[in-house]
Assembly symmetry: C2
Homo-oligomer: 107 residues x 2
DNA sequence: CATTCCTACAACCATCAGGTTGTACGTTAG
DNA sequence: CTAACGTACAACCTGATGGTTGTAGGAATG
């Protein structure tokens, strides 16, 4: 999911469709890239549950899934925790009372 | 810098050399990959300032730079802030009242 | 019905990161 | 000196990504 939001174009798309539905081509027109590229971005967002599509005539309207976005916010806390855990463990080593200079490396 | 710490092998290396110096080949022996691969990881860490090397005879001893690791921890707060900013902006859209029919969504 | 619009999808290209080999070179041990 | 070790670096492979083009098909319209 964060992978999905890691791309600025995708974040922009989410922001857009959260304000109102847009068809895929509507979205495609707004970016300096091909229709197919935007389509792929939407697909990624859809897989992540951040947006949903529903056909309406020959258009496919894209809508932002507010709930999932909020969930992302919550998930951020977890991701953050993971990083703090990693750095924390490393920092512990820095400060741990480990005997400083083990010349004869246990090998 | 977070790029440097985004790889688990590199995090492990940092943790190791923070506990005591190790030559590059010492490190290489500990991982199921080629010497050159480990060498590259060390190079990435060195470029990020997370470790430093100093020659001692024919060996190149690698040492962890505790200060930079701490800095990383601080930087984490900033990265976190960026994400919160992104998600925050997006969430605002979710809760903000639909733009009062500004007809041409003249972006 | 034929055309046009919107969409889906496959194939292909470039870039980047992590890995592997192979080679070159300085240093230390014999 | 020579051999072996430790290191540096270049070239190449692979998988993931973001992008492009090209093609095919469903839906509205004239």
């Amino acid at each position: 999911m964060f992978h999905a939001l890691a791309d600025s174009t995708r974040r922009d798309i989410v922001a857009l469709v959260l304000q109102g539905e847009h068809s895929v081509s509507d979205l495609a027109r707004r970016y300096p890239m091909s229709f197919a590229a935007v389509q792929k971005h939407v697909a990624v967002l859809e897989r992540a549950g951040l947006v949903s599509k529903h056909r309406q005539g020959r258009e496919q309207r894209v809508r932002g899934e507010a709930g999932t976005v909020r969930e992302a916010h919550r998930l951020l806390d977890q991701i953050e925790a993971v990083w703090r855990g990693r750095l924390g463990r490393i920092e512990d080593l820095v400060t741990s009372p480990r005997s400083p200079d083990t010349k004869g490396d246990s090998s």
